[in-house]
């Protein structure tokens, strides 16, 4: 872990130095990268605080039993349906879904359901799909969803049971 920290610090300072030098010397590619960095950071800042506050509220208010019942080992096929419905309301990109999936897991959701949630958060967010259909047509979106959702659920089940057999556990306290 220590070595990784050093690599990270060196990388970060190299990047920062590169941006500062580019700005000072008027090196255009560096300025362009700096602009990308700023605009993307701003986009993140709009979404992330809200997402993490919701995660905090979720941790405090939602009972473990509720999650176990609907997303856990005994939830059966309904767990997958809930995961897809929940994912369709996700805002932002898959990067917002990672911490949410992790919180669900900590509250007792099973692995297959978690992976379904992640996959579905990538492909069937409602606002995004409407947007997609308006540019590429309803037929395109319909085929994409009908093909990908069963594949996501199926592979998530397989991946979940494979990892469960291997006694895979996520690191706590992230």
């Amino acid at each position: 872990m220590k070595r990784n920290d050093i690599i990270r610090i060196v990388g970060l300072s190299g990047y920062a130095l590169f941006l500062v030098l580019s700005l000072a010397l008027g090196f255009d590619p560096g300025k362009e990268i700096g602009r990308n960095f700023l605009s993307f950071s701003l986009a993140m800042l709009k979404i992330l605080p809200g997402a993490f506050i919701l995660i905090g509220l979720f941790e405090v208010w939602v009972k473990r039993e509720t999650i176990e019942k609907h997303f856990g080992e005994k939830s059966g096929i309904r767990g997958y349906v809930w995961a897809i419905l929940l994912s369709s309301t996700t805002v932002g990109g898959i990067y917002v879904a990672f911490p949410i999936a992790y919180s669900l897991y900590c509250k007792g959701a099973r692995l297959g359901v978690i992976f379904t949630y992640l996959g579905a958060a990538a492909i069937c967010r409602v606002p995004m799909t409407i947007f997609e259909a308006s540019f590429l047509g309803i037929k395109f979106s319909a085929i994409r969803l009908l093909v990908s959702i069963p594949l996501v659920v199926g592979t998530s089940m397989l991946l979940g049971s494979y990892l469960a057999k291997r006694n895979y556990k996520l690191a706590a306290g992230r």
């Binding site: 605080p49 905090g56 994409r144």
Partner: protein
């Protein structure tokens, strides 16, 4: 807000959890933002359009799925871009490969995924997602009559 009215103590601890979680994952997010800023410079939209507009549809699909995997683009940019490419005659199949890998496969979001789920799961999930995207592209190609 409702939470604040219902119980002050619990709301405070929720905010504490939120801050702690956010700070913990912050380095991974920073890594991702840095990677994105560099990739967006190396592969701007125009370059991607050039790559996707080739003549051979199968090479197009392979290129599109690799580009979709390594780049990062929010939907409100990706779909209008796809709409423009469609009008320029790019196949639905190529666009399906591009948008689906863009959504499901994340080389750039891997630092975050790894921090939560570990390296092995991150690789497995992304490889599986890549193949799902290829299958989606082929099915789109079949339904739109682009393969036969």
């Amino acid at each position: 807000m409702a939470s604040l009215l219902a119980n002050r103590e619990r709301t405070r601890s929720a905010l504490k959890i939120a801050a702690k979680r956010f700070l913990h994952i912050f380095p991974a997010f920073l890594t991702m933002i840095i990677l994105v800023s560099i990739i967006l410079f190396l592969l701007p939209d125009e370059v991607i359009s050039d790559y996707l507009g080739g003549d051979n549809i199968f090479i197009g699909v392979i290129l599109a799925s690799f580009l979709g995997s390594i780049t990062f683009m929010p939907g409100f940019i990706a779909f209008p871009l796809s709409g423009i490419l469609l009008q320029r005659g790019v196949a639905y199949m190529v666009l399906a490969a591009f948008t689906t890998t863009l959504m499901m496969v994340g080389v750039l979001t891997a630092p975050i995924e790894k921090a939560y789920f570990g390296m092995k799961v991150t690789i497995l999930r992304n490889v599986i997602s890549f193949f799902i995207a290829l299958i989606v592209a082929v099915m789109i190609g079949l339904f739109f009559g682009e393969i036969f």
